[in-house]
């Protein structure tokens, strides 16, 4: 019974099944062969039996060969494939197979080579596409240079006097060649943006000034059409993050369209600001856009059915540029009633910081701070620093309670009893680590630890959010407090040697409500991570002083630093290891830089959404 059950069980195994069916088939063939032989060889049983034995022997041998040569190696092959014993660097199979399966391995590896080759061909194709676009644009611009150059020369009168009518016609030639030039530039711009080759020179820009500059260059056209150009300003300046030229390009494009499609009435710009974003509304009393057209508006090569002139490529560029700036655009419109384009852009850091503090002021009544310190002069110092900062609006309103030592601190039973921040001196409390961690367990607030003699491993093992060495330094103290008190969300550290890129990502993430610090070298990463708590590290593969991989290996050695999730950023072709290997090193995700800013922001947002513990302001 056991034997049969075992046999039945094994029968599920395909290779056993193959052997079994082959055996049964062979046996059947042998049987028929036997019967035929018996009749043909004039009923000589001994001879038939003898041949039978030889036949069985041959069959057994064949089956054994069959198993050893094909089935068994195939099983090994399958198992090894399943265990993913593929070379992490080349993606090839690297175990030694023999016999017919050698071909299988070779075939597999050839397939990998083929895929690699195809990938590089795709890449080359993309590159040559841009090369092609740039060549075409050169070919188009050369005759345009002659057309517009001679037209301008004639208009200027350098080549002799021209009549008014001649001059008017020449201006038409000039205007149209300029339009063509603009289209070629737009076309190239899009090609470039799509291949992620746009360089942004990022700074803080005064929005009002940018809009006014745009108005300046559009005033004449607007006046010719009898349109009213209006701007609704905020009292204060609004600063956004971005490339000035590109921002101007965005608004010039939108305002130009608004003027183009408005025949009477007005074009109005309204600027407003929320905690992290600036909102710019461009409203016109123009022809409006039908709902169908609205959907198509930002698609490539779309031209509104209702419009006399094409939208050209302008709106696609606007959208792509805004995306690169971490911004967005919305359209609301009704045919015959005008349109409103609403642009959002991230505010610049200074104003964003303002907003965070103001935001906290708005939501909060007061922050409670508990300070545990046996040194009276330190206590006094801290109290005066804190109230001073609070008075200067650098910090939200504060209420302070002081304790001379840990045993004086009341037991926290419910969530509402505790402080918003605990500052504690552990210099003399080394022996009381149990009391300390018990206190911390109940605490639902950040903890700042101060000490004259503890090393950081102990400090973080009790679960501090930040620490300061004694004697205290006023500035450092206030920075830490600010950091902990107005921390309203996740904290991210960006390490990238490219300043532009780093700042751009930083701004875009801040725009998402994250708190972001940036550094350019590996050393700084370590310093920051030791001193402060971060929820995510965005690490460039190629830092100035150390490779990202080396840095990760260092981080892996520390129990605490190991905990910080890492996103590795690099150019796609710099992905030196497959995803699998990155995962092993503790990298949660690999971000190819070619995918652009939007992708980085989306990945990071998604990551925190997955973690789902967003620390809201209390």
């Amino acid at each position: 019974m056991v034997l049969i059950r075992k046999l039945l069980y094994n029968f599920k195994n395909p290779s056993i099944r193959v052997i079994f069916t082959t055996g049964v088939l062979a046996f059947g063939v042998l049987l028929i062969f036997n019967i035929c032989l018996y009749y043909f060889v004039s009923h000589k049983v001994e001879l038939v039996m003898g041949l039978n034995f030889i036949g069985l022997g041959v069959l057994g041998y064949l089956l054994a060969e069959f198993y050893l040569l094909l089935i068994k190696p195939l099983q090994i092959f399958k198992n090894q494939l399943r265990e993913y014993q593929i070379n992490e660097f080349t993606g090839k199979l690297s175990f030694n197979l023999t016999g017919p399966l050698l071909f299988l391995q070779e075939g597999f590896n050839r397939l990998i080579e083929k895929i690699e080759e195809l990938m590089s061909r795709v890449q080359k194709f993309e590159e040559s596409n841009i090369e092609f676009a740039s060549l075409v644009s050169h070919e188009l611009r050369t005759p345009l240079t002659s057309i517009s150059g001679y037209a301008k020369l004639l208009i200027s009168g350098d080549a002799g006097p021209v009549t008014d009518t001649q001059s008017e016609f020449l201006k038409i030639i000039d205007k149209n060649s300029e339009r063509l030039t603009g289209l070629i530039n737009d076309f190239l711009d899009i090609e470039r943006m799509e291949s992620g080759q746009v360089h942004l020179d990022v700074k803080a820009n005064n929005l009002q000034l940018i809009i006014q500059d745009c108005f300046q260059s559009l005033r004449v056209i607007a006046q010719e059409k009898g349109l009213d150009l209006k701007i609704k300003n905020l009292d204060k300046s609004v600063f956004v993050v971005g490339d000035k030229q590109r921002l101007e390009q965005i608004f010039l494009n939108l305002l130009n369209n608004a003027i183009k499609y408005t025949h009477s009435g007005f074009v109005e710009v309204e600027i407003s600001q929320s905690d992290f974003t600036a909102e710019i509304k461009i409203t016109d009393s123009g022809v409006g856009i039908s709902e169908d057209d609205q959907e198509q508006l930002f698609k490539k090569y779309f031209r509104g059915a209702s419009s006399e002139q094409g939208f050209g490529l302008g709106l696609i560029i606007v959208k792509k540029l805004l995306h690169a700036h971490g911004g967005s655009i919305l359209v609301q419109s009704e045919l015959g009633k005008g349109s409103t384009f609403t642009v959002s852009l991230p505010l610049s850091k200074q104003t964003a910081q303002d907003a965070v503090i103001r935001g906290v002021h708005g939501i909060l009544k007061e922050k409670y701070i508990w300070i545990v310190d046996s040194d009276e002069s330190d206590l006094k110092n801290m109290q005066s620093w804190l109230s001073e900062a609070s008075n200067c609006k650098e910090l939200p309103p504060i209420k302070i309670k002081t304790f001379a030592n840990i045993s004086c601190v009341p037991k926290i039973e419910t969530d509402n009893e505790g402080p918003s921040l605990l500052i504690i001196d552990l210099t003399k409390s080394v022996g009381e680590s149990f009391v300390v961690s018990e206190l911390f367990d109940k605490l639902n607030a950040p903890v700042l630890i101060m000490s004259a003699n503890l090393d950081d491993s102990i400090i973080f093992s009790v679960g501090a959010s930040a620490w300061l060495a004694k004697p205290l330094d006023k500035d450092k103290f206030l920075v830490s407090i600010k950091d902990l008190l107005i921390r309203t969300s996740w904290k991210v550290l960006i390490a990238d040697s490219n300043t532009d890129l780093r700042i751009l990502v930083k701004r875009a993430l801040e725009h998402k409500g994250l708190i972001v610090d940036d550094v350019d070298r590996g050393n700084a990463v370590l310093n920051r991570l030791v001193q402060e708590h971060y929820d995510l590290l965005l690490l460039d593969l190629d830092l100035k002083d150390v490779s990202g991989l080396e840095l990760i290996k260092i981080l892996q050695r520390s129990q605490k630093l190991k905990q910080v999730p890492i996103f590795m950023m690099a150019m796609e072709d710099r992905q030196v290891l497959p995803d699998q290997a990155f995962k092993k090193l503790g990298v949660s995700q690999f971000i190819p830089k070619q995918r652009g800013l939007g992708f980085v922001v989306d990945s990071v947002s998604q990551h925190f959404e997955d973690r789902k513990i967003i620390e809201q302001p209390d």
Partner: protein
Amino acid sequence: MNNLIDILLAEDEEHIAKLIVFKLAKESFSVTVARNGQEAILLLRKKEWKLIILDVMMPIVNGWQVLKELRSIVSLNDIPVLMLSAKGYQNLEVVGDAEMGAQQYLKKPFDPEDLAKVVKRMIRV
């Protein structure tokens, strides 16, 4: 005629070369035209050029190669160079290569008036 300022222009497009020559002649410059980079290199030492204007895309030897050749000759190192190019994207193209020593870059299509202004500024007349 001796007091005219000599400018060397390397431009393979006949019409564009003619346009530039015409405009700059109005401003009292004497422009010698080289039809390609090779011709330009041969002409480098022929006169005391006050300015050299190079089109980037030229057959045989392109503008950057001419510039490189020019910068390898110590005695000609101080001549200001204006590059013209129809390649590039908007106005954001990085202006030449600082190490190559191109001081100015003008994108095609250009307004002849702008060209004259740039040239005058570069020669400081």
